[in-house]
Symmetry: D2
Subunit: 341 residues, 4 copies
């Protein structure tokens, strides 16, 4: 068994890591932190974890034992820059934004502050196994991409790499469940505010934008520019991204689907199909569903992807990366079957 | 009191007409049909109407008395082509698609069948008061536009009329609550299928597309071409349309907002604001909320509109048109305040 | 037009008063307070009210003008005890708990503090028109009962008054939508906490218990003792109370239904029927739906009632009382038809 | 690996069996039937299963191969009476009602028809491991109890066995998510009908009543009589039962909790706590949460239990029983951690 620590177990991504580790054949959680909740039994904060972790209590992160095999960090952006330099662990997987962007000039622009540990950026592999698996085999430091980024990147990157759509003028119009906003109560995340509501937010300047451009561009080997419009849907989990691009040639829907299917032919968590993806098909699983269409009438290509933001968009993908990092079966502890209904 | 008949009162738009007429100071429902439910008390099919209509029973539509002041038709497309020629009523308001498109060649393409009463098309005014009010004053026949069309058209038309965005290459990416799919149970409309789910449907060829192009184009005085992608959100009511367009000049967000605000300055049901619209702000009301942004970075204009699909997108707009047709206060019986939460 | 003030317009009951007054033919809101939100335009805090109240801004309650015709108070318990003595208004309707219980000894037990204005208790009529209408005609001070109390009382009181069930050993098992918990974000009211969840709360000692016992007992002319178990359902609005009682005689379901129907024969907002009530049938309306059953097998009577907690359970009932108080049609400004779906 | 067949894989319980078997270390689904959907790929009917079962197609049940290790049957009541006699399998686990009640006279009363294979009733063990584990070790035929029955029985049975509450006059007031009503679209299960709604159904005569009385009574060794009132809550999954009983002695809340905790001290899926159970704490897991209270004021004992109706209330419990039947770790393939949010 690998000895695992989770920093930030009081948040949703951290709690999802706890849930997935409880079912993982080789991971044993020996430490869980939650600074604002230190001293609280995990099963009291999350009754859903009471049966699986009857004796685990949240601690301050500084109490983490040295020499753990795997440490996951699930904290708000800015926090892991400070923590990582102090950690002693074989494999560190950061679910936050701090080590994803390689261009340090992007941090002040999109996150409002200078990066405080820029020398560590190069140590971090980008944790999107389907596109950058080589970098993750045995990796000691991994920056796991966010939920929107994973969705848009897996949906668009193969089309761009194949040169089938223009890399500029892209539109990513996406909707997410509210768990993406975290556990802390806010005026915009109450049931009364969210239920029976659909709205847009973060117009023009959502922080995931440069990460999408970087990840897609790196895979495709080209500069990418896109407009990203996130929406909030009245549901807990799930992200669906509807992406609009201009075709470079005259490939049909069928040909575009063939390119996507070929790109993911060996991937056990990616389903490419003519069926329109739905977030619910991925609920609780590490799977991604993707389709694409060519509209002859208006000259647009529409590509759509869906996944569970807390699994493939966060905790599941982190475990997938950790499996690769420590040399286990990549799918260990991860469900490919979604919970329905 | 005006004597009102409702053909198709067993569907959601018809039931909403019943609800709104119950609170209308000048409309009295003297006839309600629901062919598949004929003989059923309205309050049994819709317990929500039991207190307001304790003695009303659904009848076959052929039982409608002659000489009514106002008749609303809320039936699936294709049905009112057959019924309208046989009706004797001062004012007929059709909530279906049969008399909206003026170009008869569009019916076979988008609805799969020839129009059977093309000679009546010219008698029907297009029931979008904010843009075509002149046509509705005293009108005897009105084709009330659908929910997606009303949203996209009110959001985009003033920008196109002012020549601020290109009329081609437009994208309308919209999400709707499930009531738009009607009352009849279908595999895709069960709670288990819809709840916690977000998905796209009708890719490339949704029937409301040509209606949007026609309505926007007519108001703007130009040919319009757009791609429309509808989505289903896990909620009962509400439509939000996020529209992408290429600017023709260099107007800022502020200037675009000013144009929209001026276009609707006299409209009591339209709120133009920098605030991002949400469907919930319009719940149960006849109001529409609109905003717009200019993205300097990518060169896109994003305009967003929201409304309640069963009120401003159907029954409420029909009553607004009927008020204009019979010479009442346009807002009679209609709420501008939404129900929250 | 009656000049109306609303103290506590930033809460859900206050916002619902704003919505209902916007559609009331004789009420004009000339003042709205929201202390923690003073200075905020109503339409910014509640975009749903932006179209109806484009120029209204929330003020501190002390700014209320003197001599208003009607003042509604919608504040947390404890607050109106302090405010009422300072108000100068013809009719005051308090939606809080401060003036409902007539026995001052109950306040320390159930609310944890002594009443600070016990001398005013007798001035307040109990605002449940269907049972105590006489007290409300021309009333200057009204304590409007809460949502659970209105539901349970209207459901059970006629059966007790007729002596058909035992007044002790009653069980009221009820479920409510989350709007009853108010607008302020709390860990237990986030979408993530409430959605897809059903739970009980306030076991044994919910504060509405003595109010139910008082109201039912007063109408029935007997001492009543009941156990009340509230539950939280994943919805915004609506309360359904399932009440269990022991029959005193051998009346059948049919006979019990007849007694209930007779009790409410003249009431326009109460629907008694063999149909099982559902909260959704009452959404947005002032209506109440009630049924009853006699189980021969186990010797229980089960009576069920449903209503919208923010309308008949709060703002709607307050307006119904105000209409009686100022001499208007009792139903003015109130819908009997619910919004569906 | 055990070779597993699933009869009725097109329904929700069957699909949940597919999901759980996909993550089970020793179960391999080699056959899945869905008569009305025969010929349909599983991943088309349930996209959630597309990644895990890319090549499985639903077949008619008669195509089942002989000699399977484990066969699960998840069909509407009445169907397995006919099928079981024709099956050749080492272990048969029926999730339907056909072999639960041992008293054949109850079938005409509660299910409206005579049992057609009464001679098989004695072969079936009752699949509630926490109370009847002995019967399940190596069992060849198991009747898995329903969701409501599992909830109410686990909540009440230890209190009755200990003689702490009266066995008559019990009330079980429960709420369920809509997945309990099955996959087939019905007027009462559309999103529009269920969302924002809470209602009761099956008043007085729900079919699970005699099964509860039998299971509780058998464990407690006494005749039990209870009134069961189910409600429908606007959620997919989850059952919460609030049970009312009269105490026989003067045990306090603390003493009652101690009795429950002792009864389940060795059970890995049962959490007894003073915390109030919520359905969401059990989502997707095989866990059950239970609490109890004594109300001194009114003399009632209130016991509350919650679980996921499709896991511990159906497919999960069936797998738990199958594990016992074939001699595996009872918890194999089952999560004790719930998915949250």
């Amino acid at each position: 068994m690998k000895r695992v620590g989770i920093i930030g177990a009081s948040g949703f991504a951290g709690a999802e890591l706890m849930r997935l580790c409880a079912g993982h054949p080789e991971f044993e959680v020996v430490f869980a932190s939650g600074d604002s909740q230190a001293g609280t039994p995990v099963g009291e904060l999350y009754p859903s974890l009471a049966a699986a972790y009857p004796t685990t209590t949240l601690e301050p992160w500084e109490s983490i034992p040295g020499g753990l095999d795997v440490v996951f960090i699930a904290l708000p952006h800015g926090a892991s820059q400070t923590i990582v330099p102090k950690l002693d662990a074989s494999h560190i997987l950061d679910l936050g934004a701090d080590f994803r962007l390689k261009d340090t000039s992007l941090y002040p622009t999109w996150y409002g502050q200078e990066h405080t540990a820029p020398e560590l950026l190069d140590e971090f592999a980008f944790g999107l196994p389907e596109l950058f698996r080589e970098d993750l085999l045995g990796a000691t430091r991994v920056a796991v991409p966010g939920c929107y980024v994973t969705t848009a990147t897996l949906t668009l990157a193969p089309l761009l790499k194949a040169g089938l759509v223009e890399p500029h003028g892209l539109v990513v119009d996406a909707a997410s469940g509210v768990s993406g906003a975290g556990r802390a109560p806010k005026p915009g995340t109450t049931f009364s505010a969210v239920d029976e509501n659909f709205t847009a937010y973060g117009l023009l300047n959502h922080r995931h934008t440069p990460e999408m451009e970087m990840a897609i561009g790196r895979h495709a080997g080209t500069d990418v520019q896109l407009l990203f419009t996130p929406h909030l849907a009245p549901m807990n989990r799930g992200i669906l991204a509807t992406c609009y691009a201009r075709p470079t040639g005259d490939e049909s829907t069928e040909e575009l689907l063939t390119v996507l299917a070929a790109a993911y032919a060996e991937e056990s968590f990616v389903v490419v199909s003519e069926a329109v993806p739905s977030t619910k098909a991925t609920l609780g699983s590490n799977s991604v569903h993707i389709t694409v269409r060519r509209d002859e009438r208006t000259g647009w290509v529409v590509a759509i992807g869906a996944l569970d933001n807390l699994v493939k968009g966060a905790a599941g993908q982190a475990i997938q990366c950790a499996n690769l990092a420590v040399g286990l079966d990549e799918a260990a502890g991860l469900a490919s079957a979604g919970m329905y209904p």
